[in-house]
Amino acid sequence: MEAELREFERDADAWFAENTPGEPDFMLPLTFMEVGTDQQFEFLREWQNKVYSAGYLGAAWPKEYGGGGLTQKHQDIATRAMKKYRGPIMLNAIGINWTGPLILDIGSEAHKQKYIKGILSAEDIWCQGFSEPENGSDLGNAQLRAVRDGDEYVLNGSKIWTTHGHYAKYMILLARTDLDAPSKYAGLSFILTPMTVPGIETVKIKKLTGEHGFTQTFFTDTRIPADGLMGREGEGWKIAMQTLEYERSARGGQAGGYVLTEVDPLEILQLASKAKRDGQSVLADPVVRDKLMDFVIDAQAMALNGKRARISPLVRDCPQALPLMSKLTHTEFALRINEFAISLMGTKGGYYVDEPNAIDEGYWHRSYLNAFSATIGGGTSQIQRNIIGEHALSLPKTR
């Protein structure tokens, strides 16, 4: 086994060394939520497909549905190699990170046969229809209606902030199937929904960077097959929470790879040499040094948190604490370090993407604005603090 793993590692290393694409002549997204142009989309779709075909995505998923049939160790090795060569992100995040694991866990045999392979190959892009215009953080109050009619559901309502909404073939949908349920949560159901049927309209929304990002999705008397129901009617909330646990990495089973890239604070060193302050490198400024050091230490602490989470004697006071705080720490870090980067540029902090004088072609500016995607999407940082406080520290609920 050990020898076999080592060989796998050698092969993976060689494959990523050879196949990781160089920078294209357009900027690649740092997170799956940032995909803003068709050019970016197609590039990433092709890359994911290539990684999957080589056996380095879904390596631990069952072979009969399209996975590699190997172990999580194999996949971790492949993901590390991907990281080492700084490969682009995996595109079909909602598929590989939460829909896939969910289907493998509680889906029917037919679901597995139908969906798993397309998730891995990026042939079938998935989106998530949870948030609504009036119900975001208060997801349990979602109102999109699904009415059973024979072996179909009829949908009416709207979802919003749908990442990959206009590319997706399928959606994981949280819908209200019962208006008379004893609680708002008990009226919800979780349905795998095709996006290519009549009665669905996706409208692109321009995001703060000026590019297109997510969509608003309108459902008007939309008929979908009822066999997309996951679990039973009324279990939607429970299942949605399970997907959020995958999303926040509090639960394993993901296909592998990564869907967000992280800034290494030491990259800032190169950036710092590109602007001057009072005739000197900004790195000569003691305040800059102090702040930069805080980022370096934070990055180190987060990496170590990830490792410590697996050392049980060192987490026995509260085993779920480190996974629970991972989303909050990583996304807030990304936001702040990009903001810091801009602050180092002097006058050039005032430029933006596509300005020839901009440092690194405006990369940091765009990254900072885009970094809010992760401090808002997937449950805001404020909601994360509620969750950590209530679940890890058992503080009373905020109502």
Binding site: R289, Q300, L393, L395, P396
Partner: protein, 373 residues
């Protein structure tokens, strides 16, 4: 300079973590901590004896000198639990003095003192002076040749647990070079010792006047090892200080959370208010990060370079974590938080004291910046 991203735990650490947690929980309930704060000695001699018997003083001492032959890596969980339960004793000062001997003592000094420490004798360090400098090389105390021996002059500050120590490692200048001297407790007269009023009332610190103390040549420690020894002590003290800070931070958060879960205002438990909940979560996140850095530093402490980087990071974050957690702990207890009876002040004082010794967060970040970029 390389940054190690390794973290792990040794079998001995696992055992010690367990044993130390139970021991400190049993032997240092908060009422006892409070009672000892009023006591001149500041610790329970019976507990100190048991610490010796448990072999904790021997952990990081080589087998050649009757020790267990492990390292400071294994002392970290002990120090952490002592910090958590505010269990005061000469354990840290003795461990650090032993480290000074191991690194910079002559063979004869090691043979004479280390087995005694293993047997439960206390020792301490006298390195700081009134200039307040964290640079251990910046000193004015002197040794001057006097016949066959040397006579000392000057004043040392922040000599922890001095009245219990049978060995005091002091730093003085001899012909302009910093040297370490192994002073015996019996060479120090009562009049040379004054208890200092320090912000952390759980601990005991003394001023030591060296004027007139005579020492012999064989009390000087290894000349060539002075620099390395002071460097090692600086890092070792910061490592164990980080451990104490992390332990205390855990207690601070537990203490605050308990109040947030029981105190009601406006008809609700105050912990349901996000103005209290969210900063408490931030304190908790700070603590978890600091603890990861602590155990990573413990893991690679003995590695040249990497150990220094990891230790400074650990101290920087442990200082910040407890300072923030304890500051908010006072605020979140309202009027009670302002009282002497509220334990929040004990933790805030603990953080302030540790920040004052061997460098605070800002200091270590500056050192790190110089090492890394």
């Amino acid at each position: 300079m390389k940054i190690s991203t390794e973290i792990g735990i040794t079998e001995a650490q696992i055992d010690l973590l367990d044993v130390a947690e139970n021991f400190c929980l049993d032997h240092s309930p908060i009422e006892k901590v409070r009672a000892l704060m009023e006591d001149d000695l500041g610790y329970d001699p019976e507990v100190w004896k048991q610490i010796g018997e448990l072999g904790w003083l021997a952990v990081a001492i080589p087998e050649d000198y009757d020790g267990v032959g492990l390292s400071l890596t294994e002392v970290v969980p002990i120090a952490e639990q002592m910090g958590r339960y505010l269990l005061n004793s000469p354990f840290i000062s003795t461990t650090l003095a032993a480290q000074a001997l191991i690194m910079g003592g002559t063979d004869a000094q090691k043979k004479s003192y280390l087995p005694q420490i293993v047997a439960g004798k206390a020792a301490t360090l006298a390195l700081s002076e009134s200039n307040g400098d964290w640079d251990l090389n910046n000193i004015d105390a002197k040794a001057t040749k006097d016949g066959n021996g040397y006579v000392l002059s000057g004043t040392k500050t922040f000599v922890m647990d001095l009245t219990s120590a049978e060995l005091v490692v002091i730093s003085v200048k001899l012909d302009d070079a910093v040297r370490l001297v192994a002073l015996r407790g019996d060479q120090i007269s009562q009049h040379a010792v004054r208890r200092e009023r320090i912000i952390d009332e759980v601990k005991r610190s003394y001023e030591l006047t060296l004027d007139g103390i005579s020492v012999s040549l064989d009390q000087f420690m290894n000349e060539n090892a002075t620099k390395a020894t002071l460097g090692h002590i600086h890092l070792a003290a910061n490592l164990l200080g980080s451990a104490e800070l992390c332990g205390a931070c855990k207690s601070t958060i537990d203490y605050t959370v308990e109040y947030l879960k029981t105190r009601r205002q406006f008809g609700k438990l105050i912990g349901s208010y996000q103005a209290l909940k969210h900063p408490t979560v931030d304190a908790f996140v700070g603590y978890e990060k600091a603890r990861s850095l602590l155990y990573a530093a413990a893991f690679c402490f003995d590695r040249q370079g990497e150990g220094e980087v990891a230790t400074r990071m650990a101290k920087a974050r442990a200082d910040q974590a407890l300072s923030f957690a304890a500051d908010r702990a006072i605020q979140f207890h309202g009027g009670f938080g302002f009282t002497y009876d509220c334990d929040a002040q004990l933790y805030r004082r603990c953080a302030l004291f540790h920040a004052s010794q061997y460098g605070d967060a800002a200091y270590h970040k500056r050192k790190l910046a110089d090492l890394l970029f």
